[in-house]
């Protein structure tokens, strides 16, 4: 099966380059505005990083940090308000209709909720046929491709699933179908948006293992979006920590897990629950309060919860600075 042949791995080559990307959108109606609430949410606010070929990058953060928006930008499901994203040298906002079709075969998305991600009226065969049709694959070849894709995601005896409807599958099986759909056109780049958060714990590991396997076998470039550092650590060699639309810290996952630098990352790492009763817990190095994406503080967006904040943090937006293997956006460094 030609699908199994991984693309040439050129680890040093940059596949995607994001420069000062911003995604702002208007929210709330007239009444929110009347009460002086900001009507612009800065979902992504000046984000810069590169993704190399065959690299797995974890986008880590809490709800509202912009990680999902970032994923949507990378797939051109949303256009940047400002800044640029180059995919294999091509600027995404300038991509033409015809080339967009090609881009859609190269970049794919794995969804969070498998029950929402497939049309309940479609059989598994119909669901998996759609990308093949769009790519102009001959009808006679489709079935074989579908079976191959289902085998790739280790769905046992795939043929029996073809004419079933989504509600006849378990969450774990359906998530594999969703992965198969993303992989069926042999993309180079995959964004996985919390692919196991809706699944039960006992089946999560299965989906994660398939993801890791397939990625390695096909040499995929992958973005793994999650709020769970333990999961990101399981899948990604590199982690980008986001908070309120900005990047706080970016570096090798193991370094971040064992020695977080940014005060926010420190809090995040300390807060991750551990399934081990013998683990001792330090108090959280963070103040109370919650991020409000509509009214972020001036300067460093984390400063109102940061135990180490000082005057400069209010005055000046910290720029990412290289610290060892990492880059950290904090005035302490």
């Amino acid at each position: 099966m030609n699908m199994m042949m991984g693309k040439a791995t050129r680890k040093t080559e940059v596949l995607i380059s994001i420069h000062e990307a911003r995604l702002h959108y208007a929210v709330g109606g007239a009444f929110a505005a009347m009460r002086g609430k900001s009507t612009v949410v800065k979902a992504v606010d000046g984000v810069t990083f590169d993704i190399r070929r065959s690299e797995s990058v974890g986008l880590l953060g809490e709800s509202g940090c912009g990680k999902t928006s970032m994923g949507r930008l990378l797939l051109k499901l949303e256009d940047t308000t400002d800044g640029t994203i180059h995919f294999d040298g091509e600027e995404l906002t300038k991509i033409q209709r015809k080339r967009l079709k090609e881009f859609r075969t190269r970049a794919q998305l794995i969804f969070q909720n498998p029950f929402d991600a497939v049309n309940p009226r479609f059989t598994i065969r119909q669901t998996l046929s759609e990308p093949l049709e769009n790519a102009g694959i001959k009808r006679s070849e489709r079935e074989a491709r579908i079976i191959a894709a289902l085998e790739l995601v280790r769905l046992p005896e795939p043929a029996q699933f073809l004419d079933r409807y989504p509600h006849q599958l378990s969450g774990g099986q359906l998530q594999r179908v969703v992965m198969a759909r993303a992989l069926i056109l042999q993309p180079e780049f995959v964004v996985a948006d919390e692919p196991v958060s809706m699944l039960d714990v006992s089946v999560r590991a299965g989906v994660l293992n398939v993801f890791r396997d397939v990625r390695d076998r096909l040499g995929l470039t992958a973005i793994y979006i999650s709020h769970d550092l333990a999961l990101v650590r399981y899948v990604c060699e590199r982690t980008i920590v986001m908070y309120l639309g900005r990047i706080m810290e970016d570096g090798p996952t193991e370094d971040i897990v064992h020695q977080p630098l940014h005060p926010y990352t420190k809090a995040l790492v300390a807060a991750v629950p551990v399934p081990n009763p013998d683990q001792s817990h330090d108090p959280l190095p963070i103040g109370r309060g919650a991020p409000d994406p509509r009214n972020p503080p001036s300067g460093c967006v984390f400063r109102d919860r940061c135990p180490q904040a000082f005057e400069r943090c209010a005055a000046e937006v910290p720029q990412p600075r290289p610290v060892g293997t990492r880059s950290v956006a904090c005035h302490l460094f």
């Binding site: 007239a30 009444f31 505005a33 009347m34 609430k37 900001s38």
Partner: protein, 325 residues
């Protein structure tokens, strides 16, 4: 700054709708078959009157200039002369508007009080035989032509039983010293009863069905379940939590219902010879009194548009999720 913009944009929207309706009205009346001047000038007017109106409405000018003059006149509240009454259209409309509003509001208030209570009750008694019979019945009242219902009520309660007068707002020969005197008199209320009942019977279905389905929705909400877990009494759960929440959209629908009712009034006023805007509109159109027809239409449209706006604002005001955003 942004506050100003938001309110401004809502008002702009209102202005756009107003302008569009006014323009549609202009086009409708100018594009009708026959002499374009017929819209404002009756051949039986005196030559002086005709010339005065020609000048006032610029009827000898090209269409686009007429349009500008028309807009200018509207802004000054100038609607022309009624052919039949030989008096300014505006005066005639101000005379009739109270009758229409009294009929509309009296019937709607009755309909809403009944509809809300009955709707809440039916939601509570969901699945019972009462509910099983009531729902199709309510649907049937929504399927009745209002004027036909009026005819049946007239035939029974006026012509057959003689309990209520057959039409108008007062007995022939009755004189009243003023507004309040007339509208609170027994005579007037007797005349009001049948048309108001007709409209109320027709209108109660909307609040009833809306209240019922909202209640059924709200009863499934977590906070209602929580209220039960708190051990609150059934009454507290159903009335203070379920009904209170279900009421919000029903209250909003009142404003919209006023607009709809005003349109329905057209036929019912005709059945009961009720001297309101709707009947006047029908008569004016039938007797080619175009200025009056246009004025009456415009007035009804104004109320409809204003009520649509009010519905929006009412919701924002009543729902703390919006008013305390």
């Amino acid at each position: 700054m942004s506050n100003f913009k938001a309110v401004g944009s809502r008002l702009l929207q209102l202005a756009l709708v107003l302008w569009a309706v006014v323009t549609i009205l202009f086009l409708m009346f100018r594009l009708m078959p026959g002499n374009p001047m017929a819209a404002y000038i009756d051949p039986t007017f005196t030559v002086e009157q005709q010339q005065q109106l020609m000048a006032q409405f610029g009827l000898d000018k090209p269409l686009w200039q007429q349009y500008l003059i028309y807009l200018g006149n509207l802004l000054q509240g100038e609607l022309g002369q009624s052919f039949r009454y030989r008096e300014p259209v505006g005066d005639r409309i101000w005379l009739l508007l109270p009758n229409t509003l009294i009929l509309t509001f009296s019937s709607l208030i009755v309909a809403y009080v009944f509809g809300i209570l009955a709707g809440a009750y039916l939601a509570w008694r969901r699945g019972s035989w009462v509910e099983q019979t009531a729902i199709p019945l309510v649907l049937t009242t929504r399927a009745m032509p209002e004027f036909w219902l009026g005819m049946v009520l007239l035939a029974i309660f006026s012509f057959s039983l003689g309990w209520f007068p057959a039409g108008g707002t007062r007995n022939p020969g009755a004189e009243y010293s003023g507004f309040l005197d007339l509208y609170t008199s027994r005579d007037f209320l007797a005349h009001l009863a049948l048309p108001a009942a007709t409209l109320a019977i027709y209108s109660q279905g909307l609040p009833l069905l809306l209240m019922r389905s909202n209640m059924l929705d709200v009863m499934k909400e977590d906070f209602v379940t929580m209220a039960r877990i708190k051990g609150l009494s059934n009454w507290t759960v159903v009335v203070r939590h379920a009904a209170r929440n279900a009421l919000l959209p029903v209250m909003t629908s009142f404003a919209i219902a006023v607009g709809y009712q005003l349109q329905g009034n057209v036929v019912v006023e005709s059945v009961f010879s009720w001297p309101g805007l709707g009947r006047e509109l029908v008569n004016a159109v039938a007797s080619s009194d175009y200025p009056l027809a246009q004025g009456a239409f415009l007035m009804i449209a104004l109320v409809v548009i204003f009520m649509n706006l009010l519905a929006d604002m009412l919701y924002a005001f009543l729902d703390p999720r919006i008013s305390h955003a």
